[in-house]
Point group: C2
DNA sequence: GGAATATGTCGCAAACATACGTCATAGTTG
DNA sequence: CAACTATGACGTATGTTTGCGACATATTCC
């Protein structure tokens, strides 16, 4: 990426890619699932549940927070992380729209002849 | 990634992350959308539609093909790329399951108190 | 066979991501 | 106040991604 010519991609494409990148690591997927499983917002002892060092997990949390996918409120000593369900719903719709567009066409499997 | 301890992540998490990574670049999102928009499978002149060099686009195509998200059949001189709509549908379901899980909980916005 | 065309492979350089140890900060508890 | 805990910031080492030009291959057309 000597210099990304991201100029010509649409905002939609870039937004989708940005969110996809957030999910592009098992640790971040696991973090979101973990937060979802706990009703109560859990602090950084998420690290205990993952095969990663605490600082690494913290870094992933920052990344998710940067996209506003999760929220973190300081509660005294611990930090209270929770999913931004509203945004996640939005993102879900975005993905659904994308996949609907992509799966609308005819199947073009190994045996099926594409029309070209 | 000195050494990835990916061992402890579930297969689901890794699979989701793998697909997400494929969508984690605007060029690949654009390629899929472009293939979807053309009923007829279009060859590598996809490159003409993107702000990238032909070889770079070819590389992205290979990446998508490696995940089997797209198919490519050689038709004489040109190559016929098309979406694997079947797999895309599956992936869509996978994402939907993930997002459903993630958005099931209560909203935890700025004003809403999380239960911790 | 030889020119033209479409395509992929290779190697490189710059940018980015990942993982982690060390340290600084801020709150809590005695 | 001092010891302790939870947390993020910083620096660093290593691996991965991205973009591209130069080259190789394969097909068509004359």
């Amino acid at each position: 990426m000597t210099y990304a010519k991201t100029v010509a991609f649409t905002a939609d494409q870039q937004q989708l890619a940005r969110v996809a990148k957030a999910l592009a690591h098992p640790a971040r997927v696991a973090i979101i699932q973990f937060l979802a499983s706990k009703q109560t917002c859990i602090s950084g002892d998420i690290a205990a549940e993952l095969p990663l060092a605490r600082t690494t997990v913290s870094q992933h949390l920052q990344e998710l927070k940067a996209l506003d996918l999760i929220r973190g409120e300081i509660d005294g000593l611990t930090v209270c992380y929770c999913l931004n369900t509203e945004l996640l719903r939005q993102v879900h719709q975005q993905f659904t729209a994308f996949f609907s567009e992509a799966t609308a066409g005819p199947v073009c499997g190994p045996a099926d002849a594409c029309a070209c």
